[in-house]
Every structure is written in structure tokens, then in C-alpha cells.
């Protein structure tokens, strides 16, 4: 890998005061950005510059900065989490960009994810879907059995684990031309449907989660496969197919 250098970039960032005001794209020049810095560090650098200029810093979501919490979002140059695959925005580095580049930074666009401020969107729609059925109601009052006493085939366990790797970041919704949340819901339905503990409530779960998903105003999947490619955790379209099977089974 080549040594880090400094680049000058132009940023076109969506600024919006709050959920009620109309936003717009603002242009910022940012010089001396190290290619070794992460994208979020670059935004920190921009905010420092804005604060020094006595301007309002850009609001954006971030937390763990190691690709596991699902907080960071950002639609960068026309792609969720920017121009690389299998990463969150905090894992995107400025070495992916060149000196003189213009970079568009926008919030997730979805009716179900309203903008709170600038690049921060309200993703509680995902929480409500999860609350509608993404759990196992087990009586834990003193007689819980050891999880390992239930035999689970290795293949099923692996698939359930891969589905459970979903961090709920919303990149699937953001990338989907239909604003569909089916990869997220498919993963959440799958992680339980594949395991014996989840099978007990499988029927209710899929019906309730899909109903909540529809009520939140997400679009309908047309199998373009964009979500699967942009998902930082590599959640597969197989999970949507599994949700479709589960929904059909639950409906008949």
C-alpha cells in the first residue's frame, strides 16, 4: 500500500435544520485531508473547520467506529456507505478518493426514515419491526435449560448466525430503488426461523413483522439485489426468499 498523502476535496453535503424544514445541498472545500483518515474522521475535520468559521457543524450518526454498531449511515457518491463493498461508513477510508474529487454525502432516503437533522435519520421503524416479532418469548423464571442441550445442525446454525450478523444500519433500504426493508426483515425472520427456539412462534413472527414493515411505509422488493451488494455484513438474498417461504407457510 502506498504511503498516506494529503488530498484536497470538495464536499456536497445535505444540510437540513430539522425534520420540518426543507433541506438542500451545501458545498464545502476541505484541504489537507490525509488518505489514511477514515471518512468519519474527514467529517470531523470538516466540522472543526466549520466550528472555527463559527458555522453549524454537520450532524451525522456514529458510535463504535469499528463497523459493528450500525450507527453510521451516509449515502456517499451515490452508494450506501460509499464506494466499497462489505463495509460501514466508519470503515471507509479517504484512500478510496483522489485529490480534487467532489464527494456527495446524503442521508438515507426513505419515507420510513425521516431526516432528523442534516445526515441523521430516524431509524426507529426498524425497532418497531423488531418489536413486532423479532424475539423469542421464553419463560426464564428459574428453569431455563442450557441452549446447547437443543441439537442444531451446523449448517442451520451457520445460516442463522450469518442472518444475525445484521446490524440494522439501513443500507439495504437506502440502496434499494424501492426503499424496501425486506433484506433487514428477511434476516431477522431467518435468524429465528432456522433455530428450534424460534420455530415455536414462527407463524406469528413473520406475519407480524411483515405487517409492521408494510405499515412503516417501506417499498416492495423487486429482487434487484442492490441490498445484498451494499450490505456491510453480506446478508444474502436467500434470507428474503426464506422470509417469503415463511410468510407463505404462515398464510396457508
Amino acid at each position: 500500500m502506498s504511503a498516506a498523502k494529503n488530498i484536497n476535496i470538495t464536499l456536497k453535503i445535505w444540510r437540513q435544520k430539522n425534520a420540518k424544514t426543507k433541506g438542500g445541498i451545501e458545498t464545502y472545500k476541505l484541504d489537507n485531508v490525509s488518505t489514511a483518515s477514515s471518512f468519519l474522521e474527514m467529517l470531523d475535520q470538516l466540522n472543526e473547520q466549520l466550528v472555527n468559521d463559527r458555522k453549524e457543524p454537520v450532524a451525522f450518526d456514529h458510535d463504535c467506529r469499528e463497523g459493528i454498531c450500525g450507527s453510521c449511515s451516509l449515502y456517499i457518491n451515490g452508494r450506501a456507505h460509499g464506494p466499497d463493498i462489505g463495509i460501514t461508513t466508519c470503515q471507509l477510508h479517504m484512500r478510496m478518493f483522489n485529490d480534487g474529487d467532489t464527494i456527495f454525502v446524503e442521508p438515507w432516503r426513505s419515507k420510513a426514515f425521516p431526516v432528523i437533522k442534516d445526515l441523521v435519520v430516524d431509524r426507529t421503524a426498524f425497532d418497531r419491526i423488531q418489536q413486532a416479532g423479532g424475539f423469542v418469548s421464553v419463560n426464564t423464571s428459574g428453569n431455563t435449560i442450557d441452549a446447547n442441550s437443543l441439537p442444531v445442525p451446523k449448517d442451520d446454525a451457520d445460516k442463522a448466525f450469518m442472518a444475525a450478523a445484521c446490524i440494522g444500519c439501513g443500507a439495504c433500504v437506502a440502496s434499494c430503488k424501492n426503499g424496501s426493508a425486506m433484506l433487514f426483515v428477511g434476516a431477522k425472520v431467518s435468524q429465528y426461523a432456522l433455530l428450534p427456539q424460534g420455530k415455536v412462534e414462527a407463524t406469528e413472527r413473520v406475519l407480524n413483522m411483515v405487517r409492521q414493515m408494510d405499515e412503516e411505509g417501506f417499498g416492495n422488493c423487486t429482487n434487484t439485489g442492490a441490498c445484498e451488494i451494499e450490505c456491510p455484513k453480506g446478508i444474502s438474498l436467500e434470507n428474503i426468499a426464506r422470509m417469503n417461504r415463511e410468510y407463505l407457510k404462515a398464510s396457508l
Binding site: K12, R79, R109, K111, N220, S251
Partner: protein
Amino acid sequence: MAKSALLKSSIGKKYWMALTGLFLCLFLVGHLAGNLQLLMPNSQLQFNQYALFMTSNPAVKILSYLTYISILFHAIDGILLTIQNKKARPVAYAKSNPSANSSFASRNMAVLGTLVLVFLATHMTNFWAKMHFDKSMPLMTQTIEAAPGMKSEYYVGRSVGQYYQVDQVKLPGDKEAEAGTPPKQLEVKNGTDVYNVQANVKVGELYKDLHKITFDFFKSKNKLFGVIPNEGLLFTIFYVLSMLVLAYHLWHGFQSAFQTLGLNSPKWTPTIKFLGKAFAVLVPLLFAIIPLYIHFTK
């Protein structure tokens, strides 16, 4: 209590898209098999017999009503889904790079489907409606040389060996015979029935000439709307372009239907995707060859 909504829910609507779409794929195969007869030499009688079978057999009737319903359902369901999908993203991205993660066909199914529907409307007006409702649909004739140098035109009856000399049969639109000429002995009623005029008895049935309609359509030298010359060429080009649109629609649609119905597995999906792409290329290509053959040969 959780309730399923097989018609209203997002996934329910998708099932119907997939099921009607796959049924229409089957229809395409049947329709193509019928059309390919047009490429065979001297296929006129065979094709018209086939057309008669397809418009009169009761089993085919059930299938054709299923097809009409599927087309309507596929279109209406598709429109409803597309409206919801547009509503799901009220503010568009200022910069979008969709080709980085999805194919052209997969992103444009609604547009492609609408174009297929436009083609279908013209196609059904030009052939299906004529076959079903056109009272002046031409009847099949053959030139037969009864004796050396004695060629004349005969209507072909549905029973083997039945022929009626064209100038002895009165058609519904014909004028009354001129004074001095003998009145015609035979008359066509109800579109295809041949009656003996004097006895008023049905003596035979004729074939509607869909073969001629098809060949005339793609070879027509008439001016379209009275201005654009050589409309047969335009019809041929329009047909071929429509098949290209259909190919794109199937390129994504075939395998997408399986995914929607939950049939996705590492074992079978590569095969389904390959079959879908082969289907998307082969079926529209074979359809498109037919008007090209008719227009540019013979």
C-alpha cells in the same frame, strides 16, 4: 392475532406477480410453438386449422381466459406495487450510482412491462381482435389447377376435399348479381358457414385466413396513417423492438419469480438463473425471427 394478507401485503402482492408472470412464461412457449408454424413452407392450411383450434377448443378457452386474467392481474398488481415503491422514497438522491449494484433490467421492470403492455394492445388489435370479431375477416382460398391451364381460386372447406369456386360464392358484402348473369348458388353466412342459397341449407364451413392476415400485415406496402411509406417494414421493426423489450423484462423477471416464491438455494439458483437468461434470449429471438422472415423473404 396476526393475520395474513395474501392480496394486500407486500409479500402477498409479490407472490401474485411471480405466479402470473410464470404462467405468462408458459403462455409464451405455447404461443411461440404456434407461431413457428408460419416458418414452415406451405403452412397456410395447417396454420389456419391451428388458429381455428385455438379459438374454438373448450380447454384452450379456459387457458386463454386464465391468460387474459393473468395479464390484467400482472399489470394492475405491478402498477400498485410501483406506486407504493415510488411513495417509499419521497425525496430522491442528488447523486445515485445504481449500476454499481444492480442490473438495468432489474431496475426498469415497470417501464419494460408498460412497453410490453403497449405492444400487447397493438398486437391484439391487429390479430386477436380480427380473428375474434372482424366480420369481414378473409376466408382461406387456394389456387387449384383443375385441368392444364385451367387455374381458379377455391375456398377451402373444413372437410377433406371440400372446395367451393370463389366466383360462385356470394359473400355478405357482395352486391346482388347483375341482370343477365346467373345468380350465385352458394352464400357465406355467420362469417364462415357456406349455405346453399335455394335450399337454405348449410353445406360446409370455411377457415378464417389468419395466415394471410399475418403475411399481409408484415409485407404491407401501404402508407401508415396515409403518410409513412412501407408500413410492413415499420410493423416488423416495431415487433422486433418489442421482443427486445420483452427479452429484458424476462432477463430479470424469470429468475425473480422463483426468488419471490422462496425458491432460492445454493444448489438450484444458479441453474434457475441460467435457464431464465436462456429463456429470455431464446423465446423473444424466435418470436422476432418470424416477422423478419415474412417481411424479407418471399
